[in-house]
Subunit: 304 residues, 2 copies
Amino acid sequence: MGLKIVSIKSSFPYKSENLNSEKYKKIIKATGINKRYVSSEKENVISLSIKSAKKVLNSKLKNRISFLLFVSQTSPYKFPSISCILQNELKLPKDIYAVDINMGCSGYIYALKLARSLENLNNNRKYGLIICSDTYTKYIEKNNNSCEPIFSDASTATLLKISKKNQFQAFDFGVDGSGYRSLILTENSKNMFMDGAKVAIFTIKEIPQFIKKFLFKNKLSAKNVKYIALHQASKYVCDKIKEKLKFKNSYFLENYKKYGNTVSSTIPLLLKDCIDKKKLKKNNIIIACGFGVGLSWGIVKIKW
Amino acid sequence: MGLKIVSIKSSFPYKSENLNSEKYKKIIKATGINKRYVSSEKENVISLSIKSAKKVLNSKLKNRISFLLFVSQTSPYKFPSISCILQNELKLPKDIYAVDINMGCSGYIYALKLARSLENLNNNRKYGLIICSDTYTKYIEKNNNSCEPIFSDASTATLLKISKKNQFQAFDFGVDGSGYRSLILTENSKNMFMDGAKVAIFTIKEIPQFIKKFLFKNKLSAKNVKYIALHQASKYVCDKIKEKLKFKNSYFLENYKKYGNTVSSTIPLLLKDCIDKKKLKKNNIIIACGFGVGLSWGIVKIKW
């Protein structure tokens, strides 16, 4: 058995902010991020996720959901898990498998891997959900100049179907906790910390190598890959990875200009745009690679 | 391929508290919990988990670890995930799969299921870790009489081996988010809330039925089951489930008296005691069932 993507939908906070101020003039050149979405006090990962999930579900599909993986690092609760709250809010069956996964920029890839163990749940239903949502802006105070012009709030819902065809054909993962302090939010703190330079240096050193190794191992090259979906950390980081990979620009999907760095949602948003614009044909190969907070990274080969 | 348990080890905070005071005289009759372990300011889920993990690992095994699932609801950080920090602290290889799972009393069962998708990671290593740790006592203030005499801090490390033999033969899961407010801790709060009566009523109504259904579906009965490992919520809850299941007392593993309700660690602690006392023989069948916060529940058939 395998898994395939049926649809991906998104939701954003009502309010977006233009970053084109004098304060950030210089930094925008490097980040490429012109605006960010900022959740209000009334919006959080729960409300955003209900919105995105409702877009992929109808009353018939709700009763056919078998599992729900919720990827987030910005829950308003320490417990219970948001996946439980979403079960009730979305009126999903009670005999589903539902957990929260605390993982950021690489979280979508980690969740896709876990979803593969849930294909054979005993409840005989054929659909599963991966919901990603982060609201980092809630933990960025006004003077936090390294985070404010980067992070943006969003939610995405990916509806998966358990099927004979399996789109997710190879995975690789990595973790390096020695860098855990370079992107951190202590409980009770309202102001996250990012050592942007440290994270960027690490990423630019490790991630291109990691991708190259994966491509080699799986016999992938510019000839048989259609698109590369990198986590949208910033223009600077994505450009540096591109340079080192030596694939033409046209291979790289991009959304940082439009949405900012939406943490766990950047990759599903890239895939969503592809689907919406009908850019994907049968057997197209997409390489999706997430990396960041942890530090942690993951890569998947998707055969459409 | 399959998974089997190699060893389980635990660690507790240095300090334990006797609950046998006049204040809790009446409640101890119902809970059966005489003492609880209370983490100090210097102890947290990270330090406890390093201790328990080091007990199952040696320098050779460290290099053969393929994945690390960390189950907790009481991390001192919103991000990064503790599994990343543990990778570094335990000196595990960098190309492991590591995530945090936010799930409480049923979390161990949920993690065992996820571990099944990690058998075929490409890193060719044969061992995996599930580390559970919760320090609920950090979020219980002195006047919190419904939580103080129940919850206790601990960590357990379960070393799993990827093998032809598979011990985890059947699973079932459930979630009911309509009860999410009955056991809750809001971010920034230092005092968790539990509506003990509500959780108990729900558990006593749903869990025996859930277990019975699982036993029937998997053709299990007093004849072929050796032990039942219930989440150690309290004496009252465990006794009520026992009554309804109509298995003799000798089937039920127990540790609430000794350790209190250690949330995600109750079930691995029950299994650990069984292993330590050499109570398990080849082909013995153990049914382990977790339930609680979420509300959420899960059950597994383990064939030793």
